[in-house]
Structure formats: C-alpha cells, structure tokens
C-alpha cells in the first residue's frame, strides 16, 4: 500500500490514461534501433574502402564487415524478445501489405543479411581457400561450402571476385541506408506520437546510426589491437575520426533542428513536446544527450581536427570520444523510444519509467542481448581473421 502512496503525485502528473501509465516499448525497443545503427555505421566504413577506395580504411575494412555481420544477425533478437508470441512474426511476413511497416522491415532485413553475408564470403574467399587446403574431414567440407567450392585464386578469379564485391557493396549501401532509415520511418510513422511523427526521424536515425557504427569500430579496433599487443594504424584512426566528425555534425544538427522546428512551429502538440523535454526528459535529453554527450565530443573532435596531437594521445582521445558518442546515440535512442512514451495520449499528463533489473526487458536481459553479438564476433574471428596481416596479392 505504501507503494501506491509513494508513486502518487510526484512523477506522474496531470491526466495520464490508464493504458499510458506503463511504458510498453521499453529497453528492448531501445536496443533494436541501436543494434541496427551499429550495423549501418560499420557497413559505411567497409563501403568507403571497398567501393570508394578510401585506402586508409584498409586496416578496419574486413573487421567492419564482420562487426556488421555479428550485430546484424542479432538485430531482430530484441524485437522477438519483446513480442509475447515471437513465432507470429512469420505471419506478418506471409501477408505483407503497404499498411504494415514492420513487414517491410522483415524483407529489407533479409535482403541486407543476404548481401552482407555474400560480401563477407567473397572478401574472405582467398583466406578460406588457404584454410580449406589445410583442413580435414568435416572442416574441409565446411570451407568448400564457404568458398562456393572454388579454390581458384588466379588473378582473373580474384579480379572477378573484386568486381562482385564492388557490385554487392554498391547494392549494400542503399540496402543499409534503407534498413536503418526504415527503423526511423517505423517510429516516424506513428502518427499518434507527436515526438516521433516527423519526416526528420529517418534522417536523424540514419546519421546517428553512422555515428554509432563508426564510433564502435574505432573503440573495438583500438581495444582489440591494444589488448592483443598489436600496433594501431594512426592513419586509419585519423580517417575514421574525420569521417565520424562529419557524420556527427550532421546527426547533431538534425537532432537539434527537430527540436527547434517543433519549438518554432508551435504546432498542435508543441506544448506536450516542450513539457516532455523540459520535464521528464530534462536530464536525459538536455544534460546527457546534448551537453555531456554531444557538446563535449564536438569540442574534443574540434581539438583533434585543428591541434596537432601526439599519436598515442590522439589514439586515447579517439577511443574516449568514440565511447562518449556510442553513449550519445544510446541515450538518443532512449530519449526517442522511451521518452516518446512518457506522455499520455490525453496530451495533458506525463508518466515515468524505471528500468528494472530482473524483468523480461530488464537491465540484465539488455546486457545479455548486447553480449550475444560479441560472442558471435568471437566465433566469426575463429573462421574469418579480423586483420589482413599478410599483405597478399589480390584485389582486397
């Protein structure tokens, strides 16, 4: 009974409809755009190398592909865990129609998974062929399967592989952009929610996805190389940070533009959005997302761009700024997904959200889901080596 009293009046304000008291799309739905975003950003790095020939990305290009593959294979886990009847997702895919945004996502996801898997197999074919020659029994068959049963490593074969990789990456860019733009579109398409329902939503999601993915690659690359006592390619880190800076400026501008246009237009539900950002989201939006995790990284990125820093120090700051930006994107997803649900459809009241530890969508479950892609990445590393240490002949 104490609980009824304690919760009353302080955080829940004005008129909150009974079905709005509880936040239905909770942390799993925060993870869903976060994980797909990481995939997108990682793929951008691979695309910059394999399609646009940005040579300085070479050290991380293969790793980015595997990172994208590991996370993409987990992208639907949070969604399926969130559903009470996950097996019903197949019904949605059986009967897609223009009024179902989610069915469209299923098809786009399947296509991007196929394209990414093919890119990885073609990129790694020379490595897999070499490994297959040493393998015996079942493993030999496994490598034959992964190399399409072709052990041809002649120049013409590798040239053909190169063309196919370029074609697949070229196809992969719009697919990746559509995949994550679609995640934003799914939120932007919820007309009943004034903070989500804006055409800017897919754009914001897309740019913040690029930010999170590139930041994740920088952090993971520096961490793994340092942990395994290998050198860090300074030129690669510099190019990554420059690209990250560009994408982050765009992402942050669009995030702020959305707030400013809401604020300037003063459209129908402006009072609700204003009350939300200055009320329940005051800390998580203005303090954490904007001040701590956006303004500070912008200053750091500015220093990194204009002040000559020693390589070691530059690498440390690069890892730090990327980690903050990973947090920024996570908080941004949190503020959009959970924040958007903290206001009642009554347009007059706000509710509150307390994450729980041991819940179906609690903190432990979230950590569990976030660990899975890293386990997959580790398993992938046993088959597909992360780094191209031997500078072999070939197009890749």
């Amino acid at each position: 009974m104490q609980g009824f009293h304690e919760g009353a009046g302080m955080l829940i304000s004005n008129f909150v409809l009974p079905n709005d008291l509880h936040v239905h799309w909770s942390m799993m739905i925060v993870l869903y755009p976060y994980i797909t975003g990481l995939v997108d950003g990682a793929f951008i790095i691979a695309a910059l190398y394999y399609l646009f020939d940005v040579k300085s990305f070479k050290p991380v290009a293969r790793f980015s592909l595997l990172f994208a593959l590991a996370f993409l294979s987990c992208a639907t886990i949070p969604l399926l865990l969130h559903l009470g009847r996950p097996e019903r997702n197949f019904n949605m895919l059986l009967t897609p129609n223009p009024s179902s945004a989610m069915a469209g996502f299923g098809y786009i996801y399947a296509i991007s998974m196929g394209v990414l898997l093919l890119i990885v197999l073609f990129v790694y074919r020379p490595d897999l062929v070499r490994r297959g020659r040493d393998a015996k029994g079942l493993m030999s068959f496994f490598y034959r399967l992964l190399t399409f049963d072709s052990d041809d490593l002649s120049e013409s074969a590798l040239r053909l592989d190169g063309k196919i990789i370029r074609f697949l990456v070229g196809l992969g860019i719009p697919v990746a952009a559509v995949l994550h733009g679609y995640v934003g579109f799914i939120f932007g398409g919820v007309k009943a929610n004034p903070t989500w329902s804006t055409p800017l939503m897919p754009v914001i999601f897309l740019f913040s996805a690029c930010v999170s993915g590139i930041a994740a690659i920088v952090v993971a690359y520096i961490f793994i190389r340092k942990a395994t006592k290998q050198s860090v390619d300074h030129n690669c880190i510099t190019t990554c940070i420059k690209t990250l800076t560009g994408f982050f400026i765009l992402a942050f501008c669009f995030e702020m533009l959305e707030v400013f246009s809401h604020s300037y237009l003063r459209s129908g539900y402006h009072h609700m959005v204003e009350g939300l950002l200055n009320g329940p989201l005051q800390n998580s939006f203005w303090l954490w997302q904007v001040k701590i995790c956006s303004v500070i990284p912008l200053i750091l990125l500015g220093v990194m761009a204009f002040v000559p820093l020693k390589e070691k120090f530059y690498t440390t700051v690069a890892a730090l700024v990327s980690a903050i930006l990973l947090l920024q994107v996570f908080i941004m997803r949190w503020n959009v997904v959970i924040g958007g649900q903290l206001m009642s459809k009554s347009a007059r009241g706000y509710t509150t959200f307390h994450p729980e530890w041991f819940d179906k969508e609690g903190i432990i479950a979230v950590i569990g889901v976030m660990v899975i892609p890293f386990i997959i990445l580790f398993i992938l590393s046993r088959i597909f080596p992360f780094w191209n240490n031997r500078d072999e002949k070939g197009v890749i």
């Binding site: 009974m1 104490q2 009824f4 009293h5 919760g7 009353a8 009046g9 302080m10 955080l11 829940i12 304000s13 004005n14 008129f15 909150v16 409809l17 009974p18 008291l21 895919l93 059986l94 009967t95 129609n97 009024s99 179902s100 196929g114 399409f148 049963d149 072709s150 041809d152 002649s154 013409s156 074969a157 053909l160 196919i164 009072h271 009350g275 200055n278 009320g279 329940p280 005051q282 009642s344 009554s346 007059r348 009241g349 706000y350």
Partner: protein, 213 residues
C-alpha cells in the same frame, strides 16, 4: 570459355534466385484462404470471433437472482459499475441457466487492491469530477482510522457512502460533503438520485514544471 570459378559463382547466384522464387511460391501456399477477401486480414477471423461463447452477462443477469444486492447497488454511487468487474465473469458462475460454481468473494487487503484499481490517486486518467481518488495510507490517516483498515470497513462496496450517511444520521455529525466538520471540502456535487454527494477537490493545473523538481 567460362572459367570454373565463374561457373561456381553463377551457380551460387542462380541458387539464391531459385530459393527466393521458391520462397515466394511457398508463401502463396501458406497464405490463409480467406485472406484479403475484405482487406489485409483473414476474413474467417470475423466469423470465428463472432462464434466465440459469450462470457459476460450484464448487471441485469446478475441482479435478477440477487435482489438484496440489487436493492443496495442500484441506489449507490456504484450503480453503473458492472458486477463482473469485481466479482468475475458470468460464465464462470452460470452455464445454461444453472449455477456451476461460486465466484470468489474478495476480503481484506484484496478489497483495498480492488478499490484502488479505480480510486488510486496515481491513476490520473479521470478528472476528480468523475471519480473520487485517494492516496493510501494518507486517506486512512486523515480519517483517523487504523492503517490496517480495508476500504469496506467504512464504505459499503456496492454503495460507497451508505454507511457514512447512516453514521451521519445517527450521530448528527456531517462527516463529508458541504459543511462537513471532520474533513475539508471545496465543492459538493449531488448524485443524480440525490441520495449521496461526493467531494470534489480543485482541478490540478496542467503540466507544471514544479511537479518534477
């Protein structure tokens, strides 16, 4: 002359195309027959839903066999509340006009939990003009009763102000409502049948920043 490698790649891509095509064909077979007759849903679902056994009766069904409860319920402020909301579904009690089981009767803390489903101040969905809400155990302290009291020790569950009006009649004190000398009240609204009145508190101000501080 096409190389062995190129041939393998052609086989891989052709297989993918064939599998995708086969997937689309299999999809055609898996779509339910009545899908799309009226719209993007299974038309048979309408009939299936309509044929589901009705589980809820109405207050009329309940009160026809419970005249004593009817005599209180219909005079109280709760007269528009469905019996089944608190007692459970009609189908669990009656089948083909015959009693098949007793519905559980709520007691003690369960009653308080049930009452707070609607009367909890935390639920701000309805204005206080429509429903009186309380915060527990504030309400019990304010009424100077033990905090272990359950709601039905003062309020008749079918007519919430029945006992209170009777107490007022016996004691001559005005416990609630206009001119009450035990609790403060701002407005009084008489219920349509004039039997009971409810206390109204001043409306809250929409979205005040102070609430979060």
């Amino acid at each position: 002359m096409i190389s062995k490698h190129a041939l393998r790649i052609i086989i891989v891509f052709s297989s993918i195309a064939i599998m995708a095509g086969a997937g689309l064909v299999i999809k055609l077979f898996l779509i339910p027959d009545s899908f799309g007759v009226y719209g993007a849903y299974r038309a048979d679902a309408i009939e299936e839903e309509a044929n589901r056994a009705i589980r809820h009766g109405t207050n009329k069904s309940c009160l026809s066999c419970h005249p004593y409860e009817a005599s209180i319920h219909l005079k109280g402020l709760h007269k528009t509340i469905s019996c089944e909301f608190c007692h459970g579904t009609f189908a669990d009690h009656i089948d083909n006009g015959k009693k098949i089981a007793s519905l559980p009767v709520k007691k003690g803390d369960d009653i308080t939990t049930l009452c707070l489903r609607c009367h909890n101040t935390e639920i701000k969905a309805r204005s206080s003009v429509v429903i009186k809400t309380v915060a527990m155990p504030d309400h019990l302290r304010k009424q100077k009763v033990k905090e272990t009291h359950s709601c039905n020790q003062c309020h008749h569950v079918h007519a919430p102000l029945k006992h209170i009006r009777e107490a007022e009649r016996i004691s001559g004190l005005k416990i609630s409502g206009k001119g009450a000398n035990l609790t403060g009240a701002n407005y009084t609204l008489f219920s349509p049948d004039g039997n009971e009145n409810i206390i109204l508190t001043p409306p809250t101000i929409p979205y005040s920043k102070e609430v979060y501080k």
